[in-house]
């Protein structure tokens, strides 16, 4: 036991010691710089902000930080990025130790959780007292996403609606027209059947569609079928996760990756074949529902791809999820006014332009997105998907991890033939509800 618990406790205690020793994030530099906005003292406020990834020296965020420092002589901001995998852990432990950066990036999936724990400062008062900055420069949907109980907790950085990505070469080979706006989910599956190819031994070599175990595409699929894994505020699973509609839909979904008629790799197949995007890039997968972040990799490969609207469900409905990231303010930060200045800069027009220049992310602001829209051909459907975005359970409830854990476990059981869909979902719903009551 010693290894872990001692290690953890050590990190925490060590950070506590450190925080007691240092005087927080501000210190007097004595450089004699005049502070213009804050009563003419010679104090320079030091701020830190963090994101995941972006470790290269010439990253956009680093440049934005430099520009901010140049234009704000009274604030000195340091950019401290964390490699993707360790981000959540690092942020959490630094929050625990009271050493968290003043401004940090949160993904839409973790957002509700952080707000629920009270570590994120609500922004409404800052916005009210600052007439120079209006949130109507942002996509209204993104701002609505950031609101919890009518309070706004983050300013958008960028966004990524999920869309359908397809492999043109595989479509051409099978002589099937590319997906269009009229496609229903059934159209997609019948196309996927034609795109799936087996070798002499009956082993599938090319898959038509990826029925992934990732929750987001599954949520979208369930919404298209008029159901969800939980109620609106995420307090009940019984009658949702195991409703007749959900069971019927999931039976169809699971059948996509099992049996003779399968068109999709199982999650295990995907894992052993190197992941869905690498299967897609090597012409082993014809269609997948995912976010625009795959574009970076796709462009590096020689795959010919297009994007399309996610097909409609039985009732003609369309749905998507926006995967977004936003800047949040540390509720225990020492210099909140300055932190808000930084947030305004990091999500403002200049920053949105700088980030979308390379075409990797979509700008969160209306004007800049309109510009992208006017030029964009390939990803036009992706941008359009934004209009159909709904909030997944992780953005509606702090109980979301309970829902997703049990739901994933149920699907895993079904895929490994350990249970039927109905039994697995009944059990999962019961477990979720019993865990919530506690």
């Amino acid at each position: 036991m010693k290894k872990w618990s001692a290690g953890l406790a050590f990190i925490l205690m060590f950070s506590v010691v450190l925080s007691a020793c240092s005087s927080g994030t501000s210190k007097e530099t004595g450089s004699g710089k005049e502070e213009k906005s804050d009563g003419g003292t010679d104090k320079v406020v030091e701020l830190k902000f963090t994101t995941w990834g972006e470790l290269t020296a010439d990253s956009v965020e680093k440049k934005l930080a430099d520009q901010f420092n140049d234009s704000h002589p009274n604030i000195k901001v340091t950019f401290e990025p964390v490699p993707g995998d360790g981000y959540g852990t690092k942020l959490t432990t630094s929050l625990a130790a009271g050493q968290a950066p003043d401004v940090f990036l949160i993904g839409e999936g973790d957002y509700f959780k952080y707000v629920d724990k009270g570590v994120v400062e609500p922004l409404d008062d800052y916005l009210k007292s600052d007439s120079s900055f209006k949130t109507d420069i942002f996509q209204p949907d993104l701002i609505n996403m950031g609101k919890i109980n009518d309070k706004l907790y983050y300013l958008p950085k960028d966004f990524n609606p999920l869309a359908l990505w397809y492999n043109k070469r595989m479509f051409d080979e099978a002589k099937i027209p590319y997906p269009d706006a009229k496609w229903t989910w059934d159209d997609m599956i019948s196309a996927a059947k034609k795109l799936t190819k087996k070798d002499d031994k009956g082993k599938v070599k090319e898959f038509g569609f990826n029925a992934t175990k990732w929750e987001y595409p599954i949520y979208i699929y369930l919404w298209l079928n008029g159901t969800d894994i939980g109620n609106e505020d995420g307090t009940k699973a019984e009658g949702f996760m195991n409703s007749d509609k959900t069971v019927a839909a999931m039976e169809k979904y699971v059948a996509l990756s099992k049996g003779d008629d399968r068109v999709s790799p199982t999650p295990q197949d995907t894992e052993t074949l190197g992941g869905d995007s690498s299967m897609f890039m090597t012409d082993k997968l014809a269609m997948m529902v995912t976010g625009r972040w795959v574009k970076g990799d796709l462009d590096k490969s020689d795959v010919q791809y297009g994007s399309a609207l996610i097909p409609t469900g039985e009732g003609g409905d369309r749905a998507s999820i926006i995967a977004a990231a936003g800047w949040a303010m540390n509720a225990n930060g020492k210099h909140k006014k300055e932190a808000f200045e930084l947030m305004k800069w990091l999500s403002g027009t200049e920053a949105q332009k700088a980030r979308s220049e390379k075409g990797q992310v979509l700008p969160a602001t209306v004007a800049e997105l309109d510009q992208v829209k006017s030029k964009e051909v390939v990803d036009k459907p992706v941008i359009e998907m934004m209009d159909y975005a709904k909030k997944p359970i992780s953005m509606r409830s702090a109980n979301a991890p309970i829902f997703t854990e049990e739901f994933n476990k149920a699907i895993e059981k079904v895929l490994l033939d350990k249970s039927t869909v109905k039994d697995a979902l009944d059990e999962a719903a019961k477990t979720v509800d019993s865990k919530i009551k506690k």
């Binding site: 872990w4 001692a6 953890l8 959490t92 490994l416």
Partner: protein, 298 residues
């Protein structure tokens, strides 16, 4: 004779180590002991630690995953500890032969032990890959259709146990030094008395290296119960919790769901379990561990 100056120097020399022990080991251990009786959602900072008495322990005994992780860990320890000891002794016996080029063989067997566990794990993920992996390719030659080792709940734990044999180099080296401490005249005497190789091994080698076995057994038990990295990297507990090792579950509680109090309670339960097993081995040692010097004291 006491010499205050050299005594003081002695204390000074152990001071850095002693401080390290206090700050980095004992302090955190005490802290985690306190936490095991508290509820602490670590995001909210030190101030939100809430004392809850025995609640964590009560909850743990109703926790299905606690029993699952305990089961996985016990199966792993029960199979792997004896297996690795036997394999290590056998390889050590081979490496103890006086043949040309033996140093190279010793190096080959020891080398895997210096490669970081994460790198080893990445390599074995490739070996176990059902489509492209070397293991299933090799099985194909014999007409066997290999399973999806790490993705199939009936094989995943077994695969990790088998994989562990690759890293027994450290244990082998310790056995090797134990074997080299066995005096040749004992073998000669046994041979004169007509003992064959197996008899010589059982009656001379095993008793003579029993202190080494004792040491390796205890280290093996502790290591077995604390198994973590490979499962974390290779399976993350899956499929269907079939490789949910105790330490992995503990880690998930602490750093995925941020229930630090619960995780601390789990860690103290593991501490108790390891303590009990170690004590059993230590207590039993008087029956089977032979120390060379014992006779003189009697």
């Amino acid at each position: 004779m006491r010499n205050p100056r050299s005594e003081r120097a002695g204390y000074l020399f152990i001071l850095p180590w002693f401080l390290g022990l206090l700050i980095f080991t004992l302090g955190p251990m005490l802290f985690s002991l306190v936490l095991s009786f508290s509820k602490w959602d670590i995001i909210t900072g030190i101030g939100s630690i809430e004392f809850v008495g025995l609640d964590n322990f009560k909850a743990i005994f109703h926790d299905e995953l606690f029993y699952q992780s305990l089961k996985v860990t016990f199966i792993f320890a029960l199979v792997s500890v004896p297996l690795y000891q036997v394999v290590s002794i056998l390889i050590a016996l081979l490496l103890n032969m006086r043949t040309r080029g033996m140093k190279i063989f010793r190096m080959i067997y020891f080398m895997p032990s210096v490669i970081p566990a994460v790198a080893v794990s990445m390599m074995w993920i490739m070996i176990f890959n059902p489509e492209y992996g070397i293991l299933n390719r090799a099985l194909e030659w014999f007409g066997i259709d290999g399973p999806a080792w790490l993705q199939d709940p009936s094989y995943a734990l077994g695969a990790l146990i088998v994989m562990g044999i690759w890293g027994v180099g450290n244990t082998i080296i310790i056995y090797l030094s134990g074997l080299q401490g066995v005096p040749d005249e004992l073998y000669e005497a046994a041979q004169l008395d007509g003992a064959g190789p197996i008899r010589r091994f059982m009656s001379v080698t095993v008793p003579m290296i029993s202190p080494t076995i004792f040491f390796n057994l205890i280290m093996g038990i502790i290591g077995g119960f604390q198994y973590f990295t490979q499962a974390f990297v290779m399976t993350n507990g899956g499929p269907l919790n079939s490789t949910l090792f105790y330490n992995l579950y503990l880690y998930n509680k602490a750093f995925v769901s941020y229930e630090m109090g619960y995780a601390s309670a789990l860690s103290w339960i593991l501490f108790a379990i390891i303590m009990i097993f170690t004590l059993i081995v230590i207590r039993s040692s008087s029956m089977w561990v032979y120390y060379n010097g014992d006779d003189e004291r009697d």
